[in-house]
């Protein structure tokens, strides 16, 4: 086995020096009845060149976005991953290390996470950020748990315009904890303000929205925050970090906890994971936060250094009294975000956000000028928007695919009443030429003579 270093001679001698008669002896504690008496029924080992070929074969059975122009968004975004990010991530001192329990030999990971925490605070307008959570969905669920602990209340009001998979995750997390999730309906692409006014009351621990929301629309976030505050409920915002290059920091309009999906910050799409959940909050709630936190301190010589801190919240110390069960998180994805944001910098993130915004608006304008295409919602939007198609949506997507374009998501998948509405996304990677082809394809002005249709 090529990853084992012991030779047959080594093995024999080591077993004997351990005082065992043979390798079977070493497993003598395992009752005979539960010993596996046959080889595992798995394929035979593969030499590296064969394995590389095999992996390429499987991967080429997928439609890679290197070959297709992708207009899908909905929580996973085709932003460019700069070479510098992936190459620094391949520094094996980073990726082959574990959680930095021994700070003297882990300053690289610790300082990078401290920098990441600072960047998340800057983006969100919050005072503290943790070292990462699994993804945006679980981060939102953790925010619910913090809010209920902080307020001593057991009900949250969750906007129906939040990503459906995030809402599902929240419901799974609170299922057996006696927390009521009141879902506020959505109208016209927004969280319905009247319904919200009725649902939020003095029992409400938090009001949760997504900004921009699942439909890409921008919520009247400051007003929703006001509604929460009137009842001393916390205001939780699930934000797209890229949008924060031009959109107001949630901390500036009253958010108490800001969470979100950080995949777009230098992490590949990778068919849905690994992604990066971020969670930031006000200083007063720091001791209720889940997961790792890196703090600054000094060594014996007074030099600045970094450690995992406030660990009395965590499972390895507090066991069943911990604020969360999380142990392994998404540190390397957080490192990717730190490198990415350092590389883009203050001006770069603003330009990135504006590119997405302009391209999405160009695409929207072009699409709704096509025959049989209309705007689904009137709300302002950032990089995603929905359009209603008169033609069958699946047929449109099939036609686009022939032109090497992956069209948008059928909203009917999650919202039956929006069946036939297509959710589209433009990142900085979508070129004008691709957008023009998208519009031509959706409008049916190309490929009309293709006998396949």
């Amino acid at each position: 086995m090529r990853y084992v270093l012991n030779t047959e001679d080594d093995r024999r001698e080591m077993i004997s020096l351990s005082g065992a008669g043979g390798v079977e002896d070493l497993f003598g504690d395992i009752p005979a009845g539960v010993r596996l008496r046959r080889p595992l029924n798995l394929p035979h080992p593969m030499a590296e060149p064969d394995l590389a070929r095999h992996l390429r074969e499987i991967s080429s059975a997928n439609f890679s976005l290197d070959e297709y122009a992708c207009f899908l968004g909905a929580g996973a975004y085709d932003h460019y991953v700069p070479q510098i990010v992936d190459q620094l991530l391949l520094r094996s001192e980073f990726y082959t290390a574990y959680t930095p329990y021994q700070p003297e030999i882990s300053q690289g990971t610790l300082q990078a996470i401290f920098e990441y925490q600072t960047m998340i605070c800057e983006l969100t307008g919050m005072e503290a950020a943790n070292a990462s959570l699994y993804d945006g969905a679980s981060a939102l669920a953790e925010a619910v748990l913090i809010a209920c602990e902080e307020t001593g209340r057991k009900k949250v009001v969750l906007s129906g315009a939040v990503h459906p998979e995030y809402r599902g995750t929240v419901r799974t997390y609170v299922k057996h904890r006696g927390i009521e999730v009141a879902e506020c309906p959505e109208t016209g692409g927004f969280t319905d303000p009247e319904a919200l006014g009725v649902l939020v009351d003095d029992r409400t621990a938090a009001v949760l929205i997504q900004q921009p929301n699942f439909f890409g629309c921008l919520e009247q976030a400051p007003e929703i925050g006001e509604a929460a505050r009137r009842h001393n409920a916390l205001f939780v915002v699930c934000a797209d970090p890229v949008s924060l290059g031009i959109l107001e920091a949630p901390g500036e309009y009253g958010a108490d906890i800001v969470v979100g999906e950080g995949q777009g910050l230098g992490n590949h799409l990778s068919f849905g994971g690994p992604y990066l959940g971020f969670l930031a909050c006000r200083q007063r709630m720091v001791r209720r936060m889940p997961g790792r936190l890196v703090g600054q301190t000094v060594d014996k010589l007074g030099r600045r250094g970094f450690v995992l801190t406030i660990q009395a919240r965590e499972q390895h110390i507090r066991r069943e009294k911990a604020t969360s069960n999380i142990c392994t998180n998404e540190a390397l994805c957080a490192l990717a975000a730190a490198v990415y944001l350092s590389f883009l910098g203050r001006e770069g993130l603003r330009r990135l956000a504006e590119l997405c915004l302009q391209k999405a608006h160009y695409a929207h304008g072009l699409l709704v000028s096509q025959r049989g295409v209309s705007s689904s919602f009137k709300a302002p939007f950032f990089k995603e928007f929905a359009v209603r198609l008169e033609e069958d949506l699946a047929a449109v997507n099939r036609r686009l695919l022939k032109d090497k374009i992956i069209g948008g998501l059928d909203l009917g998948r999650f919202y039956p009443r929006y069946s036939g509405h297509m959710l589209l996304c433009c990142t900085e990677l979508r070129t004008r030429e691709e957008i023009d082809r998208l519009a031509a394809g959706i409008g049916g002005t190309v490929n009309d003579r293709n006998p396949d249709f």
């Binding site: 997928n62 499972q315 994805c333 944001l341």
Partner: protein, 490 residues
Amino acid sequence: MTETLIFELGASGRTSSPLPDCDVPARPLKEIIPAGLLRKKPPGLPEAGEAEVARHFTRLSSLNYGVDTGFYPLGSCTMKYNPKINEYAARLPGFARLHPYQAEDQVQGALRLMYETQRYLAEITGMDEFTLQPAAGAHGEFAGLLMIKAYHDHRGETGRRRVVVPDSSHGTNPATAALCGMEVQQVRSGRDGTVDLEALKDALGPGTAAVMLTNPNTLGLFEREITKIAEAVHRAGALLYCDGANMNAILGISRPGDMGFDVIHLNLHKTFSTPHGGGGPGSGPVGVKSGLAPFLPSPAVGFDPAGGRYYLDYDRPLSIGKVRSFYGNFGVVVRAYAYIRAVGGEGLRQVGEDAVINANYLLSLIRGTYRVPFDRRCMHEFVVSPPAGFKEAGLHTVDIAKRLMDYGYHPPTVYFPLIVEEALMVEPTETESRSTLDAFAGALLEIAREGFENPQLLREAPRRTPVSRLDEVVAARKPVLRWRPPAAEE
């Protein structure tokens, strides 16, 4: 040696932004976005150039210690070598550049890889069905316990809310039970370090939902009475959960499914060689016996032999639902798949054997100097306490750990499990050579000698690291969790 913070580097206005120019007609921002939603003050991100960023993070990496740097015997974490072909695999464009909402016929390769991995893991563990959705071990525990709760509830046994864990269990076990809204009951280990069967039987009752065990346990000892334990648990109407953190010891040798476990989570970042990443991403697949399969998270990856197609199955009325977005840490699953295909079934068995050979060999080299609280044959890891006389000299496990860094090693896990005083938990893994183990044992023995002859050397360790011991008390008491520009400081 320390490194300047990225915020302290760079210069106002410096940028190496890689972005293209805008190729569509741009409209004024204020026409598009209501003024109240526009950002007034830019985020205080760094203003450094590409070369500066590359150097900064490269220098930071040099302050780190990974498996590629040297021996990393962190018990319970299985810090084995991470094969480089895995990194190649995960970065193939067909895997890395794939959107989770692409139509099924565009992602057949990805679904096939997931489906096959599920089948491999089922064979390795003796379980019937697997989900790859959980993002880490603790997340797998969460999904597993929720399934157990759903199973009992579905049978009308809604009163089963108690989870029994041994006092040697990982902290995630009781923390997960609490997260699921269940009660935790801890049972004491027997004198030999394994589960005390009688104490466990006493703890079982009509309110017991599950017993969570790690086997081999966190002391590196195999639960010899595992089949009797399983019998007692099932007789009480409860289910047996396997924390698969220590699966490396028994690959190809024994299967939790055959021992009577009903649910198991694996850690692909431990047993299946995917990198730990400085604290993730990992992956925590969960395997179940067929009776629990209807409760697996949604969606499941299925295969239709008639059409020869792989698909995502969302139509699962009894499912516990979503535990996260999309389908799991796919990029990590790709690496684990590459590993399983590289080593095959026979290779996995050798992994188990050599992990156990290495641990027993290393233990034999230091036994007699370091105290062994439960001195019997170990599996893939063992727990020792500092040499006799250390306590009297005012020396602790932490001093040994810090001194090991001066010898160029990553220390073992310390102060865990909690039932052993001053524990040092050592897991060498199968990817280390005899000469590495000899040298490491030599360092441990040398440190034992230093402890008596020059205890100051241990107390002041480490000296050869970028920073010396850090003040963790100050860090926790007055938390500084982010950088602020000097002007903003009080």
